[in-house]
């Protein structure tokens, strides 16, 4: 029992550290990149496409409901909803390879914007069905 509690604390600690790291990552986006507008903002088709892409590219680490896993932090909440779309785009495209977040530069730019659109439009419930 003791061991399980210790393990739980470690997992919580890691998750908190990962969340801090992720928020730092968003803030580290250059101002010019953060100011880029999202031409898909508010487009329902882009939200659905973004949900599909999220399921394919991101859910393995961030969880299918964006709830976070031991591998990567949660992508729910105001931290994501209120972030400048350009900053999220910059984080996804560049990643932070020495801290575990891979670069998704291989995705075409419109697809990265579709993921951003989904992340910012999604509530904290399940993603829309495919």
């Amino acid at each position: 029992m003791k061991r399980a509690d210790g393990k739980g604390a470690v997992v919580l600690g890691l998750a908190a550290a990962a969340a801090l790291l992720a928020s730092g990552l968003i803030e580290s986006a250059p101002e010019q990149a953060a100011r880029k507008p999202n031409r898909f903002a508010g487009n329902p088709a882009a939200v659905r496409a973004g949900a599909k892409l999220f399921g394919r590219e991101c859910a393995g680490c961030h969880g299918s409901q964006r709830e976070g896993t031991s591998a990567a932090p949660s992508l729910r909440g105001s931290r994501i909803h209120e972030a400048p779309p350009g900053a999220l785009f910059w984080v996804i495209r560049n990643g932070s390879v020495f801290q575990g977040m891979p670069s998704f530069a291989h995705l075409p730019e419109p697809q990265i914007w579709q993921i951003v659109t989904y992340l910012q439009a999604a509530g904290d419930a399940s993603p829309p069905a495919k």
């Binding site: 997992v11 088709a45 882009a46 659905r48 496409a49 973004g50 599909k52 892409l53 399921g55 394919r56 590219e57 393995g60 680490c61 896993t69 031991s70 591998a71 495209r93 560049n94 990643g95 932070s96 390879v97 020495f98 801290q99 575990g100 977040m101 891979p102 670069s103 998704f104 530069a105 291989h106 995705l107 075409p108 730019e109 419109p110 697809q111 579709q114 495919k130």
Partner: protein
């Protein structure tokens, strides 16, 4: 929990169903790394009928694993089947790729280091270096397999993405650990997905699931006879399709453009990526969450 192969396969298929689209090249490496914890399983076959030789099928089974965001490791198991000859295991290769820069730049370097322990019957054609030629492919496996090749290979991989296009350049140096000269080669590629914007729903043959491109590769001689004279070079259009289930199929005919090259080779492969294999393996082995 009782584990069986069937349970394991079902779990992998059901929970982690998809993989990222990749450049369609067979030989050229882009700077894209395997995502940390993911495992990609791929089989690539090269077939041709060089000059006086028999038709051959050179196959490489690849297991690629993302150790870190900046480090990908890969093991190849190679074999060759030849008409009117035998089918032989030709050896293994172990490669490691290291991404050198933290973020995405207009050009992105990756360092590649590989150890090969193969024999002369290996026709999987993972690269062309030195004076590799059609004659090497025409040699019967029974004789060729007696030649042992223990080689170290280094590549500088440069890659860029621009408006959906991928540009990749590989510079290759290979050294047989016996007293043989350094051999050089290159591979370059350009590719693009057919659709840049994803469809809202799941779709099988929509443009976003296709990648098309072209690669060129060839030898550049050795350190004491560097250049294009007597070397073989190929131009190879390539196309890849990724199914909604995550299976990627790639096909690439390669056309020899010099006298030393085989006139025509056909390469085809199938790959599947298991997302977060590390976590699955930990759950199986340790029962962890």
């Amino acid at each position: 929990m009782k584990l069986s192969c069937k349970n394991v396969l079902l779990a992998v298929w059901a929970v982690f169903p998809l993989s990222a689209a990749e450049a369609p090249y067979v030989i050229t490496y882009s700077h894209q790394m395997e995502e940390p914890g993911n495992l990609e399983i791929e089989t690539i076959t090269t077939t041709g009928r060089p000059g006086e030789g028999n038709r051959f099928f050179g196959n490489a089974l690849e297991l690629e694993y993302g150790v870190k965001g900046w480090w990908t490791t890969e093991v190849y198991l190679d074999g060759t089947a030849e008409a009117r000859e035998s089918t032989v295991f030709t050896g293994y290769r172990w490669e490691n790729r290291f991404r050198l820069l933290h973020r995405e730049h207009w050009i992105n370097p990756v360092l590649y280091v590989e150890f090969e322990n193969i024999n002369g019957a290996d026709k999987s054609l993972r690269e062309v270096v030195g004076f590799d030629s059609e004659e090497d492919l025409a040699e019967a496996v029974a004789g060729a397999r007696r030649e042992k090749k223990r080689e170290l290979e280094a590549k500088l991989i440069l890659g860029s993405y621009w408006k959906g296009w991928n540009f990749s350049e590989n510079f290759i140096a290979e050294k047989n650990l016996r007293h043989e000269p350094y051999e050089f080669g290159y591979a370059i590629g350009i590719s693009r997905p057919l659709g840049l914007v994803a469809e809202p729903g799941s779709c099988r043959f929509c443009a976003e699931n296709w990648q098309a491109g072209m690669e060129m590769f060839g030898g550049l001689g050795t350190h004491d006879d560097f250049g294009l004279r007597g070397t073989s070079h190929y131009a190879a259009p390539a196309v890849a399709w990724t199914s909604p289930g995550g299976l990627t199929i790639r096909v690439s005919p390669a056309f020899g453009v010099t006298g030393a090259s085989a006139p025509f080779l056909l390469r085809f492969g199938v790959s599947y990526e298991i997302t977060q294999f590390r976590r699955i393996a930990r759950q199986w082995l340790g029962g962890g969450r």
